[in-house]
Amino acid sequence: MAIFQLRLTISLKIPDNEARSALEAIRVKMGLDDEVRDLTREERWELGVDAVSFDDAKAVVEKLVATTNLFANPNKHRYTLARADVPFGGPDPSVGADLADDEVAILVSDRESAEGDSILSAIRRLGVTDVRSARKWVRWRVALTRTPSPEEPDLLPLIRRIGVATGRRDGLLSNPHSQVSRVVLPWGEEKPLES
C-alpha cells in the first residue's frame, strides 16, 4: 500500500453567481476591465488515498463522489478526477495543462481550516478509512484580455492585483492573512502569489 495523491475538481453546471460577482468586482469595482475578460471557478480537493494502485485509489474516490453527497450534487456539479503524483503545491505542469494562452489560474486555500478534517471525518463516518488527507483549494481561472509572455515584468504585479487582497481596490481572491495563494501561468510555471 502507498499513498496516492488525487485531484478532484468540481465545477458548477448552473450559473456561478460567485464567479460572476468576483468578475464584476475585478472589472468594474477594481477597474481592471481593460485587463480581465472572464473568470471561472472550480473547487479542487487534494486527496491522499492509501491504496495498492492509482486505479484503486481512483475507484475509492469515484465511489465516494458518485454515491454520497459529500463533494458534489449531480443537480449542480460536474467533476473530474486526476492523478497528482507530486505533492500539491510543488511544480506540476499538469495543473496548467487546461489553460488557454491568455489564461492564468489562481489557487487559493485557507492557511488553517477545519474543512479538510471535517471532510475526512465525514468520509470515515461512511466507513471509508483509506482517504488519509484532504485539502480544499479554490481554483480561479482568469482570462486576460491579452496573451501574456514569460518576459513581461508587469504580469505578476497584475496577477497580484487581481488575486491578493491588499486594499479597497486591490486584490480580491485571497486574503493573505488567512489564506495562501499560488498562480499557474499558461506556460505551466507555478509560483506562490504572496510577496
Partner: protein, 278 residues
C-alpha cells in the same frame, strides 16, 4: 442654534439580515436611524453622522465573507467619512467588511492587515452560535465609551468566520500596545478565554473586536443588537445578567436595557450626548 439629534445609517448590503434589529437597538440608545441601501446615493449617505454595518451574509459570502462588499463604491464613501472622524461600527459580517476594506486596524491607512478566518473548533466546523463573555479592553472607542475598561459583558456570537488573524509580523502585539484591541473573549469572571467554547472560534489572543488607532472605527464579531434588552439574555447565562433575567418579574424589567445596549449608547456618546444610564 440647537443641533438636531445625530442620525445613524445602518447599511444594507445585499444578503445582510440583521438590519432591522440593529436599527431598533440604535434607536433604543436614543439616536435616529435609517436603513440605507448599498446602492443608495452617496450624496445622501454623507449627511449621516455615523454608520453601522450590520450582520448577515453580504453578497452571499461570495469569494470570502465581506470581500465583495468591501469593494463596493459605498465603502469608499464610508472610508472617507471615517477619515473625517465619523464613527463606524461593523458587527459580524460588517466587521468582516471593515477588515477586508482595510478600515481596521488601519495602522497603514486602507491596507488589508488582517483577516477573519474560518472558526477552528474541536469536533465541529461551520456556523457556531453561543452567548460569550467579553472583556472591555478599551473603553474609549465609538463602540465602548459607555462601558468601563475591565467590564465583563455577555453578548452572543453567531458566525462561521470569526477568527482574527494576521500574517503581518508583530501586528497583534502592536494592536495591544496601541489599545486597538477593544474586546476580548473571557470567562464569566474576566479571565482570558484561551479555550473553546469561551473563545468560540480560536481567535488569536481571544480577540473579539478591534478598532482603528483613533477608535472611531470598530469591527466586532459579537452581536450587541441581540443583547440590547434584558428579555434577549438567556436565563441560564452565568453571571449577573443571567440572574437579572431570571429575576425579572415585570415588563419593565424584561424590556429594560441589556448588556449590549451600551455599544449603541457609545455611538450616542460619541456625539457629545450623555450616554444613557445602564
Amino acid at each position: 442654534m440647537t443641533k438636531s439629534m445625530p442620525r445613524i445609517a445602518v447599511i444594507r448590503f445585499p444578503g445582510m439580515n440583521c438590519e432591522e434589529e440593529t436599527k431598533r437597538a440604535v434607536v433604543d440608545a436614543g439616536l435616529e436611524c435609517d436603513v440605507f441601501m448599498w446602492n443608495g446615493p452617496t450624496s445622501e449617505l454623507v449627511e449621516y453622522d455615523g454608520y453601522v454595518l450590520p450582520g448577515g451574509f453580504s453578497y452571499q459570502d461570495r469569494v470570502r465573507a465581506g470581500s465583495i462588499a468591501a469593494k463596493d463604491e459605498i465603502v469608499d464613501c464610508l472610508f472617507e467619512e471615517a477619515e473625517r472622524g465619523k464613527p463606524v461600527i461593523g458587527i459580524c459580517n460588517g466587521a468582516q467588511i471593515l477588515l477586508e476594506a482595510g478600515m481596521v486596524p488601519g495602522i497603514e491607512r486602507g491596507r488589508v492587515q488582517m483577516g477573519l478566518a474560518t472558526n477552528i473548533m474541536p469536533d465541529r466546523d461551520g456556523y457556531y452560535t453561543r452567548w460569550t463573555h467579553l472583556r472591555v479592553a478599551n473603553d474609549g472607542t465609538c463602540a465602548t465609551r459607555a462601558y468601563e475598561r475591565g467590564d465583563v459583558v455577555p453578548i452572543p456570537v453567531a458566525h462561521a468566520e470569526g477568527r482574527f488573524v494576521s500574517a503581518e509580523k508583530g501586528l497583534i502585539e502592536t494592536l495591544f500596545a496601541n489599545d486597538q484591541v477593544v474586546l476580548t473573549y473571557c470567562g464569566p469572571e474576566a479571565g482570558e478565554a484561551r479555550e473553546f467554547p469561551a473563545n468560540p472560534n480560536g481567535s488569536t489572543k481571544a480577540i473579539a473586536g478591534i478598532s482603528n488607532p483613533e477608535g472611531n472605527v470598530v469591527a466586532m464579531m459579537p452581536h450587541p443588537e441581540r443583547a440590547a434588552r434584558l428579555y434577549q439574555v438567556p436565563g441560564n447565562l452565568a453571571g449577573p445578567w443571567g440572574a437579572r433575567k431570571r429575576e425579572a418579574r415585570d415588563a419593565e424589567a424584561m424590556f429594560g436595557p441589556g448588556p449590549g445596549l451600551p455599544v449603541m449608547s457609545s455611538l450616542a456618546g460619541f456625539f457629545g450626548a450623555e450616554p444613557r444610564e445602564v
